[in-house]
Protein backbone atom coordinates (compact mmCIF):
# COMPACT_ATOMS: atom_id res chain seq x y z
CA UNK A 1 0.00 0.00 0.00
CA UNK A 2 1.41 3.36 -0.96
CA UNK A 3 1.63 5.69 1.95
CA UNK A 4 2.28 9.40 1.70
CA UNK A 5 4.65 10.83 -0.85
CA UNK A 6 7.20 8.08 -1.56
CA UNK A 7 6.67 5.37 1.05
CA UNK A 8 5.10 1.94 1.11
CA UNK A 9 3.80 -0.35 3.80
CA UNK A 10 3.75 -3.91 2.57
CA UNK A 11 0.28 -5.46 2.65
CA UNK A 12 1.48 -9.03 2.69
CA UNK A 13 4.27 -10.44 4.82
CA UNK A 14 7.77 -10.29 3.39
CA UNK A 15 10.04 -12.50 5.47
CA UNK A 16 13.79 -12.23 5.73
CA UNK A 17 14.89 -15.84 5.38
CA UNK A 18 18.63 -15.53 5.62
CA UNK A 19 21.63 -13.25 5.31
CA UNK A 20 25.11 -14.29 4.26
CA UNK A 21 28.32 -12.26 4.09
CA UNK A 22 31.84 -12.65 2.71
CA UNK A 23 34.43 -9.99 3.48
CA UNK A 24 38.12 -9.36 2.93
CA UNK A 25 40.99 -9.58 5.36
CA UNK A 26 40.97 -5.93 6.49
CA UNK A 27 37.21 -6.05 7.12
CA UNK A 28 37.71 -9.23 9.12
CA UNK A 29 40.09 -7.30 11.38
CA UNK A 30 37.59 -4.46 11.79
CA UNK A 31 35.14 -3.89 14.62
CA UNK A 32 32.73 -6.63 13.48
CA UNK A 33 35.17 -9.22 12.12
CA UNK A 34 33.71 -12.04 14.21
CA UNK A 35 30.21 -11.65 12.82
CA UNK A 36 30.81 -12.24 9.11
CA UNK A 37 30.11 -15.68 7.70
CA UNK A 38 33.34 -15.92 5.75
CA UNK A 39 36.48 -13.81 6.13
CA UNK A 40 39.00 -14.17 3.31
CA UNK A 41 42.70 -14.13 4.14
CA UNK A 42 43.51 -13.14 0.55
CA UNK A 43 41.51 -10.47 -1.29
CA UNK A 44 42.27 -12.19 -4.61
CA UNK A 45 40.69 -15.44 -3.38
CA UNK A 46 42.84 -17.51 -5.75
CA UNK A 47 41.62 -15.62 -8.80
CA UNK A 48 43.62 -13.99 -11.57
CA UNK A 49 42.25 -10.51 -10.95
CA UNK A 50 40.41 -8.53 -8.28
CA UNK A 51 37.45 -8.24 -10.64
CA UNK A 52 37.19 -12.02 -10.82
CA UNK A 53 37.57 -12.20 -7.06
CA UNK A 54 34.64 -9.82 -6.59
CA UNK A 55 32.48 -11.87 -8.99
CA UNK A 56 33.34 -15.01 -7.04
CA UNK A 57 32.53 -13.31 -3.74
CA UNK A 58 29.20 -12.15 -5.12
CA UNK A 59 28.32 -15.61 -6.40
CA UNK A 60 29.38 -17.36 -3.20
CA UNK A 61 27.41 -14.86 -1.11
CA UNK A 62 24.24 -15.71 -3.05
CA UNK A 63 24.93 -19.44 -2.74
CA UNK A 64 25.62 -19.06 0.98
CA UNK A 65 22.39 -17.18 1.59
CA UNK A 66 20.40 -19.77 -0.38
CA UNK A 67 21.97 -22.58 1.60
CA UNK A 68 21.31 -20.83 4.91
CA UNK A 69 17.66 -20.31 3.95
CA UNK A 70 17.43 -24.00 3.07
CA UNK A 71 16.31 -23.43 -0.49
CA UNK A 72 17.55 -24.48 -3.91
CA UNK A 73 18.33 -22.59 -7.06
CA UNK A 74 15.02 -23.73 -8.53
CA UNK A 75 13.10 -21.97 -5.72
CA UNK A 76 14.54 -18.56 -6.58
CA UNK A 77 12.27 -16.59 -8.87
CA UNK A 78 14.44 -13.53 -9.21
CA UNK A 79 17.90 -12.36 -8.31
CA UNK A 80 18.25 -8.64 -7.71
CA UNK A 81 21.90 -7.69 -7.65
CA UNK A 82 24.28 -4.80 -8.17
CA UNK A 83 27.82 -3.66 -7.55
CA UNK A 84 30.19 -0.76 -8.27
CA UNK A 85 32.16 -2.11 -11.20
CA UNK A 86 31.57 -0.59 -14.63
CA UNK A 87 28.49 -2.12 -16.29
CA UNK A 88 27.89 -3.95 -12.97
CA UNK A 89 29.90 -6.92 -14.18
CA UNK A 90 30.29 -8.24 -10.63
CA UNK A 91 26.59 -9.09 -10.52
CA UNK A 92 26.11 -10.06 -14.15
CA UNK A 93 29.08 -12.41 -14.14
CA UNK A 94 28.03 -13.92 -10.82
CA UNK A 95 24.52 -14.51 -12.17
CA UNK A 96 25.69 -16.47 -15.21
CA UNK A 97 26.16 -19.49 -12.94
CA UNK A 98 22.52 -19.52 -11.85
CA UNK A 99 19.48 -20.62 -13.81
CA UNK A 100 17.34 -17.92 -12.19
CA UNK A 101 15.72 -14.70 -13.33
CA UNK A 102 18.16 -11.82 -12.96
CA UNK A 103 17.86 -8.05 -12.81
CA UNK A 104 20.95 -5.93 -12.42
CA UNK A 105 20.59 -2.79 -10.34
CA UNK A 106 22.70 0.29 -9.82
CA UNK A 107 22.30 2.96 -7.19
CA UNK A 108 25.99 3.06 -6.23
CA UNK A 109 26.34 2.22 -2.54
CA UNK A 110 22.55 2.33 -2.07
CA UNK A 111 22.10 -0.63 -4.43
CA UNK A 112 21.40 -3.03 -1.58
CA UNK A 113 18.53 -0.79 -0.44
CA UNK A 114 17.17 -0.65 -3.97
CA UNK A 115 17.25 -4.46 -4.18
CA UNK A 116 15.44 -4.88 -0.85
CA UNK A 117 12.73 -2.38 -1.78
CA UNK A 118 12.06 -3.96 -5.17
CA UNK A 119 12.27 -7.48 -3.78
CA UNK A 120 9.84 -6.58 -0.99
CA UNK A 121 7.37 -5.05 -3.44
CA UNK A 122 7.44 -8.03 -5.80
CA UNK A 123 6.91 -10.49 -2.97
CA UNK A 124 4.24 -8.46 -1.23
CA UNK A 125 2.36 -8.08 -4.52
CA UNK A 126 2.52 -11.82 -5.08
CA UNK A 127 4.69 -11.83 -8.18
CA UNK A 128 7.57 -13.68 -6.58
CA UNK A 129 7.98 -16.21 -3.80
CA UNK A 130 11.74 -16.09 -3.26
CA UNK A 131 14.03 -13.21 -4.18
CA UNK A 132 17.75 -12.79 -3.49
CA UNK A 133 18.97 -9.25 -2.84
CA UNK A 134 22.73 -8.94 -3.13
CA UNK A 135 25.45 -6.38 -3.66
CA UNK A 136 29.21 -6.29 -3.55
CA UNK A 137 32.21 -3.99 -3.63
CA UNK A 138 35.94 -4.57 -3.59
CA UNK A 139 38.57 -2.08 -2.47
CA UNK A 140 40.98 -2.99 -5.25
CA UNK A 141 38.44 -2.86 -8.09
CA UNK A 142 37.02 0.43 -6.82
CA UNK A 143 40.43 2.09 -6.35
CA UNK A 144 41.51 1.51 -9.92
CA UNK A 145 38.13 2.50 -11.30
CA UNK A 146 37.50 5.65 -9.28
CA UNK A 147 40.94 6.65 -8.02
CA UNK A 148 44.56 5.61 -8.56
CA UNK A 149 46.61 2.42 -8.99
CA UNK A 150 47.04 0.57 -5.69
CA UNK A 151 50.81 1.02 -5.49
CA UNK A 152 50.81 4.75 -6.19
CA UNK A 153 52.18 6.60 -3.16
CA UNK A 154 49.45 9.16 -2.58
CA UNK A 155 47.97 10.55 0.60
CA UNK A 156 44.31 10.11 1.44
CA UNK A 157 42.33 13.24 2.20
CA UNK A 158 40.93 13.45 5.76
CA UNK A 159 37.34 13.23 4.44
CA UNK A 160 37.98 10.11 2.34
CA UNK A 161 36.57 6.67 3.05
CA UNK A 162 37.75 3.12 2.49
CA UNK A 163 35.79 0.94 0.05
CA UNK A 164 34.74 -2.23 1.84
CA UNK A 165 35.77 -5.52 0.26
CA UNK A 166 32.64 -7.50 0.83
CA UNK A 167 29.63 -9.21 -0.69
CA UNK A 168 26.36 -9.97 1.02
CA UNK A 169 23.03 -11.46 0.15
CA UNK A 170 19.62 -11.48 1.80
CA UNK A 171 16.93 -13.95 0.82
CA UNK A 172 13.40 -12.52 1.01
CA UNK A 173 10.38 -14.77 0.86
CA UNK A 174 6.62 -14.80 1.03
CA UNK A 175 6.84 -17.93 3.16
CA UNK A 176 7.59 -17.98 6.84
CA UNK A 177 10.89 -19.61 7.62
CA UNK A 178 12.65 -19.60 10.91
CA UNK A 179 11.46 -18.02 14.16
CA UNK A 180 13.25 -14.83 15.13
CA UNK A 181 13.97 -13.43 11.68
CA UNK A 182 12.51 -9.97 10.99
CA UNK A 183 10.05 -8.99 8.27
CA UNK A 184 10.53 -6.24 5.74
CA UNK A 185 7.50 -4.15 6.58
CA UNK A 186 7.88 -0.77 4.91
CA UNK A 187 10.11 1.31 2.74
CA UNK A 188 10.71 4.73 1.28
CA UNK A 189 12.09 5.32 -2.18
CA UNK A 190 14.73 8.01 -2.20
CA UNK A 191 14.98 10.89 -4.62
CA UNK A 192 18.20 12.15 -6.14
CA UNK A 193 19.52 15.16 -4.28
CA UNK A 194 22.40 17.38 -5.30
CA UNK A 195 23.45 20.06 -2.86
CA UNK A 196 26.36 21.19 -5.00
CA UNK A 197 29.19 19.29 -3.33
CA UNK A 198 32.04 18.99 -5.83
CA UNK A 199 34.69 17.17 -3.82
CA UNK A 200 34.71 13.47 -4.71
CA UNK A 201 36.91 12.96 -1.66
CA UNK A 202 34.00 13.95 0.55
CA UNK A 203 31.23 11.45 -0.18
CA UNK A 204 29.77 11.79 3.30
CA UNK A 205 29.17 15.46 2.63
CA UNK A 206 27.54 14.72 -0.72
CA UNK A 207 25.27 11.94 0.61
CA UNK A 208 24.17 13.29 4.00
CA UNK A 209 21.41 15.52 2.51
CA UNK A 210 19.96 12.54 0.60
CA UNK A 211 19.92 10.43 3.77
CA UNK A 212 18.26 13.25 5.71
CA UNK A 213 15.63 13.73 3.01
CA UNK A 214 14.76 10.02 2.91
CA UNK A 215 14.60 9.68 6.70
CA UNK A 216 12.38 12.76 7.05
CA UNK A 217 10.13 11.62 4.19
CA UNK A 218 9.85 8.16 5.74
CA UNK A 219 8.89 9.49 9.16
CA UNK A 220 6.40 11.97 7.67
CA UNK A 221 4.83 9.47 5.24
CA UNK A 222 4.42 6.71 7.80
CA UNK A 223 3.52 9.15 10.61
CA UNK A 224 6.12 7.48 12.78
CA UNK A 225 8.42 9.04 15.30
CA UNK A 226 12.15 8.34 15.05
CA UNK A 227 11.92 6.57 18.41
CA UNK A 228 9.60 3.99 16.77
CA UNK A 229 12.82 2.32 15.62
CA UNK A 230 15.49 0.90 17.89
CA UNK A 231 18.01 2.02 15.33
CA UNK A 232 18.11 4.20 12.23
CA UNK A 233 21.08 2.82 10.36
CA UNK A 234 22.53 4.77 7.45
CA UNK A 235 24.82 3.15 4.88
CA UNK A 236 28.20 4.74 4.38
CA UNK A 237 28.13 8.40 5.36
CA UNK A 238 31.24 7.93 7.49
CA UNK A 239 31.96 9.73 10.74
CA UNK A 240 31.86 13.23 9.31
CA UNK A 241 28.85 12.46 7.09
CA UNK A 242 26.97 11.23 10.13
CA UNK A 243 27.68 14.50 11.93
CA UNK A 244 26.36 16.39 8.91
CA UNK A 245 23.25 14.21 8.84
CA UNK A 246 22.55 15.00 12.49
CA UNK A 247 23.04 18.68 11.79
CA UNK A 248 20.65 18.67 8.81
CA UNK A 249 18.01 16.68 10.71
CA UNK A 250 18.20 19.12 13.63
CA UNK A 251 18.03 22.03 11.19
CA UNK A 252 14.85 20.58 9.67
CA UNK A 253 13.25 20.27 13.09
CA UNK A 254 14.11 16.64 13.79
CA UNK A 255 16.50 17.18 16.66
CA UNK A 256 17.05 14.81 19.51
CA UNK A 257 17.19 11.69 17.32
CA UNK A 258 19.58 9.64 19.42
CA UNK A 259 19.23 6.26 17.70
CA UNK A 260 21.19 7.15 14.56
CA UNK A 261 24.14 5.01 13.54
CA UNK A 262 26.17 4.71 10.37
CA UNK A 263 27.61 1.44 9.05
CA UNK A 264 30.64 3.12 7.45
CA UNK A 265 31.51 5.06 10.59
CA UNK A 266 31.65 1.97 12.81
CA UNK A 267 32.98 -0.60 10.33
CA UNK A 268 36.72 -0.25 10.95
CA UNK A 269 38.86 0.38 14.01
CA UNK A 270 40.76 3.66 14.52
CA UNK A 271 44.11 1.92 13.88
CA UNK A 272 43.05 0.76 10.42
CA UNK A 273 43.53 4.28 9.02
CA UNK A 274 40.40 4.51 6.93
CA UNK A 275 39.90 8.23 7.71
CA UNK A 276 36.08 8.56 7.84
CA UNK A 277 35.40 4.80 7.77
CA UNK A 278 34.03 2.31 5.28
CA UNK A 279 32.01 2.82 2.11
CA UNK A 280 30.91 0.90 -0.95
CA UNK A 281 28.00 -1.24 -2.06
CA UNK A 282 29.20 -3.98 0.30
CA UNK A 283 29.40 -1.72 3.37
CA UNK A 284 25.80 -1.44 4.60
CA UNK A 285 25.04 -4.88 3.16
CA UNK A 286 27.72 -6.87 4.96
CA UNK A 287 27.33 -5.02 8.25
CA UNK A 288 23.56 -5.41 8.26
CA UNK A 289 23.59 -9.09 7.23
CA UNK A 290 26.67 -9.84 9.29
CA UNK A 291 26.01 -8.03 12.54
CA UNK A 292 22.62 -6.33 12.83
CA UNK A 293 20.54 -9.20 11.43
CA UNK A 294 22.22 -11.57 13.90
CA UNK A 295 21.54 -9.12 16.73
CA UNK A 296 17.89 -8.94 15.65
CA UNK A 297 17.77 -12.73 15.83
CA UNK A 298 19.21 -12.61 19.33
CA UNK A 299 16.62 -10.05 20.30
CA UNK A 300 18.89 -7.04 20.85
CA UNK A 301 16.97 -5.04 18.24
CA UNK A 302 13.41 -5.53 17.07
CA UNK A 303 12.95 -2.57 14.70
CA UNK A 304 15.65 -1.22 12.43
CA UNK A 305 15.32 1.35 9.65
CA UNK A 306 18.13 0.72 7.18
CA UNK A 307 19.02 3.67 4.96
CA UNK A 308 21.77 2.75 2.45
CA UNK A 309 23.24 5.83 0.77
CA UNK A 310 24.81 6.21 -2.64
CA UNK A 311 26.71 8.86 -4.60
CA UNK A 312 25.80 8.72 -8.27
CA UNK A 313 29.01 9.91 -9.89
CA UNK A 314 31.53 8.41 -12.26
CA UNK A 315 35.28 8.97 -12.41
CA UNK A 316 34.89 11.50 -15.20
CA UNK A 317 32.06 13.68 -13.89
CA UNK A 318 34.12 15.52 -11.22
CA UNK A 319 36.77 16.24 -13.89
CA UNK A 320 33.98 17.75 -15.99
CA UNK A 321 33.20 20.04 -13.01
CA UNK A 322 29.93 18.31 -12.22
CA UNK A 323 28.59 18.23 -8.69
CA UNK A 324 27.73 14.94 -6.95
CA UNK A 325 24.09 13.79 -6.95
CA UNK A 326 23.18 11.33 -4.22
CA UNK A 327 20.39 8.99 -3.20
CA UNK A 328 19.24 7.04 -0.16
CA UNK A 329 16.50 4.44 0.24
CA UNK A 330 14.88 3.41 3.52
CA UNK A 331 13.78 -0.12 4.45
CA UNK A 332 12.11 -1.02 7.72
CA UNK A 333 12.92 -4.37 9.34
CA UNK A 334 10.60 -5.39 12.15
CA UNK A 335 10.15 -8.45 14.29
CA UNK A 336 6.55 -9.38 14.82
Amino acid sequence: MKCGERSFIFDNSVYVRSGYTIVGDKEGKGNYGNYFDLVLSDDLWGQKSYERAECKMHKEAILGAMQKAGINESDIGLMLAGDLMNEIVGSGFAARDFACGFMGLYNACATYGEALLLGGMLISAGYEKYVTCSSSSHFSTAERQYRYPLELGTQRTPTSQWTVTGAGCTVLSAEFGEEGFPLVTAGTIGRVIDMGVEDEGNMGGAMAPAAADTIITHLRDTKRDASYYDLILTGDLGKYGKELLQYILADEGYDGINNLQDCGAIYFTEDQKTEQGGSGAGCANTLFNGYFLKKMLQGKYSKILLVPTGALLSRDTPLQKETIPSIAHAIAFEKK
Binding site: L150, T154, Q276
Partner: protein
Protein backbone atom coordinates in the same frame (compact mmCIF):
# COMPACT_ATOMS: atom_id res chain seq x y z
CA UNK B 1 18.49 23.35 4.28
CA UNK B 2 19.58 25.77 1.54
CA UNK B 3 22.48 24.89 -0.74
CA UNK B 4 24.65 27.91 0.10
CA UNK B 5 24.30 27.38 3.84
CA UNK B 6 25.10 23.66 3.49
CA UNK B 7 28.20 24.25 1.36
CA UNK B 8 29.40 26.86 3.86
CA UNK B 9 28.82 24.37 6.68
CA UNK B 10 30.97 21.79 4.88
CA UNK B 11 33.66 24.37 4.18
CA UNK B 12 33.75 25.37 7.85
CA UNK B 13 33.47 21.99 9.50
CA UNK B 14 35.07 19.37 7.23
CA UNK B 15 38.21 17.76 8.70
CA UNK B 16 41.36 19.38 7.32
CA UNK B 17 44.77 17.90 6.58
CA UNK B 18 47.09 18.28 9.56
CA UNK B 19 49.47 20.67 7.83
CA UNK B 20 52.27 20.79 10.42
CA UNK B 21 52.61 17.00 10.63
CA UNK B 22 52.34 16.53 6.87
CA UNK B 23 54.96 19.18 6.14
CA UNK B 24 57.44 17.80 8.67
CA UNK B 25 57.06 14.23 7.35
CA UNK B 26 57.28 15.43 3.80
CA UNK B 27 60.45 17.44 4.54
CA UNK B 28 62.12 14.58 6.40
CA UNK B 29 61.30 11.87 3.83
CA UNK B 30 61.98 14.08 0.80
CA UNK B 31 65.26 15.18 2.37
CA UNK B 32 66.23 11.59 3.19
CA UNK B 33 65.59 10.50 -0.41
CA UNK B 34 67.86 13.32 -1.60
CA UNK B 35 70.52 12.21 0.91
CA UNK B 36 70.29 8.69 -0.51
CA UNK B 37 70.78 10.23 -3.96
CA UNK B 38 73.89 12.04 -2.71
CA UNK B 39 75.15 8.82 -1.16
CA UNK B 40 74.65 6.98 -4.46
CA UNK B 41 76.60 9.60 -6.39
CA UNK B 42 79.39 9.53 -3.76
CA UNK B 43 79.64 5.76 -4.08
CA UNK B 44 79.76 6.04 -7.87
CA UNK B 45 82.58 8.57 -7.52
CA UNK B 46 84.42 6.17 -5.20
CA UNK B 47 84.09 3.29 -7.62
CA UNK B 48 85.01 5.29 -10.68
CA UNK B 49 86.80 8.55 -9.78
CA UNK B 50 87.63 9.31 -13.42
CA UNK B 51 83.97 9.44 -14.50
CA UNK B 52 82.91 12.88 -15.84
CA UNK B 53 80.37 14.68 -13.62
CA UNK B 54 77.57 14.63 -16.18
CA UNK B 55 77.88 10.87 -16.55
CA UNK B 56 77.96 10.42 -12.76
CA UNK B 57 74.70 12.41 -12.48
CA UNK B 58 73.11 10.24 -15.14
CA UNK B 59 74.07 7.06 -13.32
CA UNK B 60 72.76 8.47 -10.03
CA UNK B 61 69.42 9.18 -11.70
CA UNK B 62 69.29 5.67 -13.13
CA UNK B 63 69.99 4.12 -9.72
CA UNK B 64 67.34 6.30 -8.03
CA UNK B 65 64.75 5.38 -10.67
CA UNK B 66 65.61 1.74 -10.10
CA UNK B 67 65.18 2.12 -6.34
CA UNK B 68 61.81 3.89 -6.76
CA UNK B 69 60.58 1.17 -9.11
CA UNK B 70 61.94 -1.60 -6.90
CA UNK B 71 60.23 -0.34 -3.75
CA UNK B 72 57.00 0.17 -5.72
CA UNK B 73 57.29 -3.41 -6.95
CA UNK B 74 57.64 -4.89 -3.48
CA UNK B 75 54.74 -2.76 -2.25
CA UNK B 76 56.57 -0.38 0.09
CA UNK B 77 56.60 2.93 -1.78
CA UNK B 78 52.85 3.53 -1.40
CA UNK B 79 53.16 3.02 2.35
CA UNK B 80 55.91 5.62 2.45
CA UNK B 81 53.72 7.91 0.35
CA UNK B 82 50.87 7.60 2.85
CA UNK B 83 52.97 9.48 5.40
CA UNK B 84 55.30 11.50 3.24
CA UNK B 85 52.93 12.91 0.60
CA UNK B 86 54.83 15.37 -1.58
CA UNK B 87 58.08 14.29 0.08
CA UNK B 88 58.03 11.01 -1.79
CA UNK B 89 56.17 12.20 -4.90
CA UNK B 90 58.49 15.03 -5.98
CA UNK B 91 61.89 13.25 -6.09
CA UNK B 92 62.59 11.15 -9.17
CA UNK B 93 61.76 8.02 -7.17
CA UNK B 94 58.14 9.32 -7.08
CA UNK B 95 58.18 9.69 -10.84
CA UNK B 96 59.29 6.06 -11.11
CA UNK B 97 56.47 5.11 -8.73
CA UNK B 98 53.91 6.92 -10.89
CA UNK B 99 54.98 4.91 -13.96
CA UNK B 100 55.48 1.51 -12.35
CA UNK B 101 52.28 1.50 -10.27
CA UNK B 102 49.83 1.77 -13.23
CA UNK B 103 52.01 -0.67 -15.20
CA UNK B 104 51.58 -3.20 -12.38
CA UNK B 105 47.90 -2.40 -11.98
CA UNK B 106 47.08 -3.00 -15.65
CA UNK B 107 49.31 -6.03 -16.11
CA UNK B 108 46.17 -8.17 -16.25
CA UNK B 109 44.84 -6.35 -19.30
CA UNK B 110 47.80 -7.52 -21.39
CA UNK B 111 51.09 -5.99 -22.54
CA UNK B 112 49.91 -3.63 -25.28
CA UNK B 113 46.59 -2.20 -24.08
CA UNK B 114 47.32 -2.90 -20.44
CA UNK B 115 50.87 -2.18 -19.32
CA UNK B 116 52.10 -0.06 -22.23
CA UNK B 117 48.94 1.98 -22.77
CA UNK B 118 48.19 2.67 -19.11
CA UNK B 119 51.78 3.20 -17.96
CA UNK B 120 51.58 6.95 -18.52
CA UNK B 121 48.13 7.65 -17.10
CA UNK B 122 49.65 9.42 -14.08
CA UNK B 123 53.04 10.43 -15.43
CA UNK B 124 51.77 11.54 -18.87
CA UNK B 125 51.07 15.15 -17.79
CA UNK B 126 54.54 15.40 -16.18
CA UNK B 127 56.18 14.34 -19.45
CA UNK B 128 54.04 16.74 -21.48
CA UNK B 129 54.82 19.67 -19.18
CA UNK B 130 58.49 18.67 -19.10
CA UNK B 131 58.79 18.61 -22.88
CA UNK B 132 56.77 21.79 -23.43
CA UNK B 133 58.70 23.78 -20.82
CA UNK B 134 62.05 22.52 -22.14
CA UNK B 135 61.09 23.70 -25.63
CA UNK B 136 60.08 27.12 -24.27
CA UNK B 137 63.26 27.47 -22.21
CA UNK B 138 65.30 26.26 -25.19
CA UNK B 139 63.75 28.90 -27.46
CA UNK B 140 64.39 31.64 -24.90
CA UNK B 141 67.98 30.44 -24.57
CA UNK B 142 68.45 30.38 -28.33
CA UNK B 143 67.30 33.97 -28.89
CA UNK B 144 68.27 35.81 -25.72
CA UNK B 145 71.27 34.11 -24.15
Amino acid sequence: MEKERYLKLIKDTSPKTKMARTLVFSFLVGGSICCVGQLVSDIIMLISPAMPEIEMKMWTTIVMIFLGSFFTGIGLYDKLGYYAGGGSIIPITGFANSIVSPAMEYNREGIVFGVCAKMFTIAGPIIVFGIVSSVIVGLIGMFFV
